[in-house]
Assembly symmetry: C2
Homo-oligomer: 346 residues x 2
DNA sequence: TTGTATGCGTTATCAG
DNA sequence: CTGATAACGCATACAA
């Protein structure tokens, strides 16, 4: 028996050369037509033949092979926590709309802040991408900046949101400034006893621009900072904790909440207890999610400029991809305090 | 000038052969060590040398090259709409927890139901994946089943959720049965005038298992179906529409809401208007998101078994990947009606 | 304008 | 147990 025992690998899908054969043309020309480059010239009828053959065979270029030779994949990675948050949803929407017409595929990778960073990155970097936008990956940003010199020294990277590292491109949001404004606003309405509502499960309980801004403002006014701790922002938790305060008649005059979801829950809970939000207690949130506007008592919030964030981040990433050696673009945006009923004048 | 104008391609990252050189060993052996196969034997000291060299160089295998030869990427694609939804968030969480320890990277791709399908798939399929789990991609499922024979005939594919196509593996949820149960429950409490709340922006307004179950149940009881249409589930929209009904004193005895978010909003809105949810009006939602349990008036809901869904879907996908020629596994789960205060007996 | 030939970084086969 | 070496599917420099 003269079998040469052919080693048959491959996916079974039609390849470029299958198309070439069908179109009776060389593989190179198929590439020229299908790679979508405009600087090469192909005879219209040749092009037509190729297109037709490709369509007939259901040909799709193999990303891996393409990446191997060209170094490009047409994929960009969006790194973020996929743990639920209405704000993140809004940013995701924004990003989607932005990239609707652009010829890239977005691959969203869940970045778990709790998990071992190096491991997380190694996993995330398995997706062959042309660049990365990392959204609000707090601790990760620094870790990545540190690790990236080893793991991915030359991957275009833009961080977006409240955390950034000076080495790479970023679109930041100055939450500290937003906090300062919010506190100033509250003080200006005559409120002094202001508490800060945050979850114990996060490192944001007593650090980060929001806490620091709060702490600083309170001390500047000669007030004692007071943290209301909840385990998570589940409605139930907030209800328990605030319920106790109501009962003990030890509600503050205002509550600065870590985010809008907490603010909305707090507002709803307090109203349930008969507390008048906006007069008895002021409530302020962060992020600017839609619900704050339509809530029974509209919520004052420090609104993040997410549309501009996304636009800029994509801009910066494109620059990095096109010109990898260019100096990183960096910009910090300022959030906007939207004053509503929940912090009405007393 | 004697420059040979070398064509320099490549990523600049260290390659397998760089590691080989550093470890003074052949490239083949580096592969053997780093590919993580257990069926090959390498001398412990050789292995150590390789590992050390790889670490020192910050070597990471090139996904594209690896995919090209082995046909595997270690990436699985999660296809779903990333338009915000609390339920989707919960499923995402569930999936994340499930795959925490597994050695795969999950790439989430946003599937826009509104967009041109073939185009969406072509984009999504650019990410080199070993298999796909498509979650609640209603129309897409059929479209994919249709297109997939052309675009990706052999890609392991499992659909998960309320929509499935008989050709491929799936883990379905029988929302029709859930609807039947919910309607039976409402009728059993003596309510007859039941309305169906759905968004005009969706094809679910007057089709799909929920609508059909509702429609059927109403007609079976000799009642006239009545759809309450809202443009979207934004709080504001629901407030307007229900406000009108309250004013016109034409509220139904119960409202079956397309999902829990709508149910929560409706409940909150109605209470704002002084309507007693649970006695004046019953409210039932779908999905079983956490908030339904902790809302001021806990909401009756048709709870989707998302943890089991995820577990099975991952199971089925693994089977397809391991044994591509095996017959697709298919299973339909039944949701569970959780009865709470919002549909209390009159 | 098109074809030929080379190499991208791996894995896997086969011979040492 | 280890080292050559042939694919994998494609883009591109270069020749025609």
């Amino acid at each position: 028996m003269y079998s040469t025992r052919v080693h048959h690998r491959g996916t079974g899908r039609p390849t470029r050369d299958d198309v070439a054969r069908a179109a009776q043309i060389s593989g190179a020309t198929v590439s020229r037509v299908l790679s979508g480059r405009t600087d090469v010239t192909v005879l219209p009828e040749t092009r037509a033949k190729v297109l037709e053959a490709a369509r007939a065979l259901g040909y799709m270029p193999n990303t891996a092979a393409r990446a191997l030779t060209s170094g490009r994949t047409g994929i960009i990675g969006l790194w973020m926590s996929l743990a639920y948050s209405r704000y993140r949803g809004q940013v995701l929407d924004s990003m989607r709309t932005l990239l609707q017409g652009v010829e890239v595929t977005t691959s969203v990778t869940d970045i778990d802040e709790e998990y071992h960073f190096a491991h997380t990155f190694e996993r995330a970097l398995r997706v062959p991408i042309d660049g990365i936008i990392a959204f609000d990956t707090s601790a990760s940003v620094d870790a990545f900046a540190r690790e990236s010199d080893i793991l991915a020294p030359s991957v275009p990277f833009v961080s977006m949101g409240a955390y950034w590292s000076s080495k790479k491109s970023y679109v930041g949001v100055d939450l500290r400034k937003g906090t300062d404004e919010a506190m100033a606003h509250l003080f200006s309405t005559g409120r002094k006893k202001i508490a800060y509502l945050a979850p114990t499960s996060s490192d944001l309980l007593d650090s980060g621009p929001r806490f620091e801004g709060y702490d600083y403002a309170m001390k500047s006014e000669g007030q004692t900072p007071r943290i209301i701790r909840v385990e998570t922002f589940a409605y139930k938790q907030i209800k328990e904790v605030l319920g106790d305060l109501v009962q003990a008649k030890s509600l503050p005059e205002a509550i600065l909440c870590l985010n809008d979801e907490a603010a909305l829950a707090a507002s709803q809970v307090l109203q349930g207890f008969g507390v008048k939000v906006g007069s008895d207690v002021a409530i302020v949130g962060f992020d600017g999610i839609e619900e704050t506007e339509y809530a029974p008592v509209p919520i004052t919030t420090v609104c993040q400029p997410y549309e501009e964030m996304c636009k800029l981040a994509w801009d910066f990433l494109q620059s990095q991809i096109t010109e990898p050696s260019a100096v990183p673009k960096q910009q910090v945006l300022v959030p906007r305090l939207i004053i509503r009923e929940s912090s009405g004048t007393v």
